[in-house]
């Protein structure tokens, strides 16, 4: 509670505070202009367990522009959440460790920041929305306190100004009678309302990036629609980039500008949303699209499935990681891993021998 009780008197606009913070973090290489907000290159995050090294994320590279919504799609265990955690340097260590790669956020090399600076970055520049709003809120603190925490911490607003901002945020995320609910505790809110509170916390310091990790998986479909609409609206209003992590291709289709499909720790396809859905270039993506029951489907057609299970990520072979489940595999798939190479347009890349220009399914 001490943070709440110490009145901060310096009245600075959020922009001033941010500029000051960036100046203090002297890691931005001089003269580097940030065209892309986030550039992840060659990121590998491994977990060192008694059973062996789990290569949860392996050589992942992508870029995210200002205000863009990028999807990270895949099944459980494919490394999508670990990618997000790595960006915010939140990988539990031990056992997890970022073993290679570079993450440049708004011109700042995140992996070189000190713990203290990375904490500042997380609070003020990167917001989070997690899957489970019940466990990610502290049950013993009021909603008002939890939303205000980052504001007091990172924006240096006065008690009164901070409170006003909290009320403003709460009403922006659609909580009725916001001012009356500041002293309520999380248990007094429903699942959808809690997720709104999480969004308010994520937005509290006008972040440039929101990492949304399965933000609606725990919610009912109508509440999911409310939350997705809200995220899209606010991201647009605040010009915030969103990294949308989801297993639901439908959500990706409705929310994202571009999508990365992940499988077994790797990005296997990256494309604009239309390219991915109109002309996917990777058998795993085909399988995903084929195996989904769709609301606009004709009834009774048997779904095509992807047989088998994703591989274990301890010592994955130097081969296409999807080949044991792939019905198009050939010898080369078992011997050598394909690179992520260009397909058709500058925005479309896939990792597959079969759909390479000289492959057997061009």
């Amino acid at each position: 509670m001490s943070a709440a009780e110490v009145p901060t008197v310096i009245e600075l606009s959020p922009e001033d505070v941010r500029r000051e913070q960036l100046e203090r973090t002297e890691v931005r290489p001089a003269g580097q202009k940030a065209d892309v907000l986030l550039k992840v290159s060659g990121l590998s995050t491994h977990f060192f367990t008694p059973d062996g090294v789990i290569q949860a994320v392996d050589d992942v590279s992508f870029e995210l522009g200002y205000g863009e919504t990028l999807g990270l799609v895949g099944e459980s265990g494919c490394g999508k959440s670990v990618t997000a955690l790595s960006i915010a340097r939140l990988v539990p260590d031990p056992p997890g460790q970022i073993v290679a790669g570079e993450i440049v956020f708004d011109g700042i090399d995140v992996l070189k920041l000190s713990q203290e600076d990375v904490r500042k970055l997380r609070g003020s520049e990167i917001g989070f929305i997690f899957q489970d709003p019940l466990t990610s809120l502290n049950p013993t603190l009021t909603i008002g306190y939890q939303i205000g925490e980052a504001i007091r911490e990172h924006m240096g607003l006065s008690q009164k100004a901070a409170r006003e901002r909290v009320v403003d945020l709460l009403s922006k995320v659609g909580i009725p009678r916001a001012a009356d609910r500041l002293n309520d505790y999380p248990f007094q809110f429903s699942g959808g309302m809690r997720q709104r509170v999480m969004i308010a916390i994520a937005l509290s310091c006008d972040p440039k990036l929101i990492l949304a990790d399965e933000p609606t998986t725990a919610l009912d479909v109508t509440i999911q629609a409310q939350i997705l609409e809200l995220i899209a609206k606010l991201a647009d209003e605040f010009h915030t980039a969103v990294l949308m992590i989801t297993h639901d291709l439908g959500i990706a289709a409705g929310m994202c500008d571009r999508v990365n499909v992940m499988y077994a720790g790797r990005i296997v396809e990256t494309a604009t949303i239309d390219e991915l859905f109109d002309d996917p270039r990777m058998p795993y993506a085909w399988g995903l699209l084929d195996s989904l029951p769709r609301i606009d489907d004709v009834k009774g057609e048997r779904l095509r499935t992807i047989e088998g299970l994703p591989p274990l990520l301890i010592k994955p072979p130097d081969a296409c990681r999807f080949h044991p489940r792939c019905i198009y595999e050939r010898e080369i798939c078992r011997e050598d891993e394909p690179e992520l190479t260009r397909r058709g347009s500058d925005s479309h890349y896939a990792r597959c021998w079969a759909t390479e220009p000289d492959g057997w399914i061009p």
């Binding site: 099944e75 629609a225 058998p283 609301i295 048997r302 095509r304 019905i327 079969a354």
Partner: protein
Amino acid sequence: MTATAERPPEAHVTDPRNIVEVDDLKVHFPIRSGIFKSVQGSVKAVDGVTFDVRRGEILGLVGESGCGKSTIGRAMIRLREPTGGHVYFDGTDLGGLGNEALRKMRRRMQIIFQDPYGSLDPRMTVGSIVSEPLDTHGLAKGQAKRDRVAELLALVGLDPNYVQRYPHEFSGGQRQRIGVARALAVEPEFIVCDEPISALDVSIQAQVLNLLGDLRKRLGLTYLFVAHDLSVVKHISDRVAVMYLGKIVEIGPPDQLYSVPGHPYTRALLSAVPVPDPTAERKRKRVILKGDVPSPVNPPSGCRFHTRCWLYERLGQPENCRTDDPELTVLEGEHRAACHYSAEAQKTDVGVAHIDDRPVRHGTPDAALAYLAAEKVEDPAAIDATDSARLEAPIVVEAGIDEEDPRTETPTA
């Protein structure tokens, strides 16, 4: 159907085409508080529901969490005692059965649970999990029992040699198969599938969904398929019932219910379902329902949906929505909805604008299908055929769909 609700139970005439008839079923959970635990009210989880399940059909039951769909499923096989109303299974009122008669009856109805992690006893081997119902009903002993277990495992696509393994050695999809094998052990006629695929990953969901479809065809089963996912329910069901706050608000064949829904709630639900197709997503006319589902302790007066209804607002808040609870009325054929203004609802394209009649599914491209057909003669149809051939011949070790994967401790990243 609504007429039967008023008749005294003795006079209830069941239709032999129906395997289960549910008549004005109510399940209320008392809320107790204070030192004497006096009843302070009740959660009206299921509040007067009448419908029937035909032999051999799959009836989908959809709704949001807390709408009472799982409670109905459980009450239908009397895992929950109803507060009111009747459930007739093959003409017999389940409520009137004594313990022994009920146990005998349970052989004919089984349930598959949502959570493949919580619904299997971690200290029992797969063999004993699957054979337990055989013991309970005294159906097989010794070698006959072992053969039957092997046959059941093969039937659900698991390696019969897995009998000595424990649930933790299996993945979610495989565990769900174990749950299915256990349900099938007593050769039931009717199975309540309570969110059987919700806890599974996308690619595994399709495997289990296909398995349930195959088993239904092969064994002539009837399912009540409880789920929250409207796409899944549409895919598998012959008829669909939509629930809201303890009541069925709409019921009918999927082609009608999904193209001309007569209840504004159904339309709101449909408008909220994400479609894996960016073009369709752009056409979506989304109804954002305000707020949360009201408490089932004090459901709103009149139509329970009126507090969140977009049509009620659009029609200028008509009074009968607040005062009269609408009954399910026939719209066309078997399609019924409980709304005073279903005709108005059907005039709009709200909720269905993005649902195309002829969707283009861009999954596997033609070139790839051609490749499969030419190079490997393993086109999808052929794969399906081998699949069912495996199912026909039970004790083939090759059976498993995700077999060869004892290394199931998939790391959670």
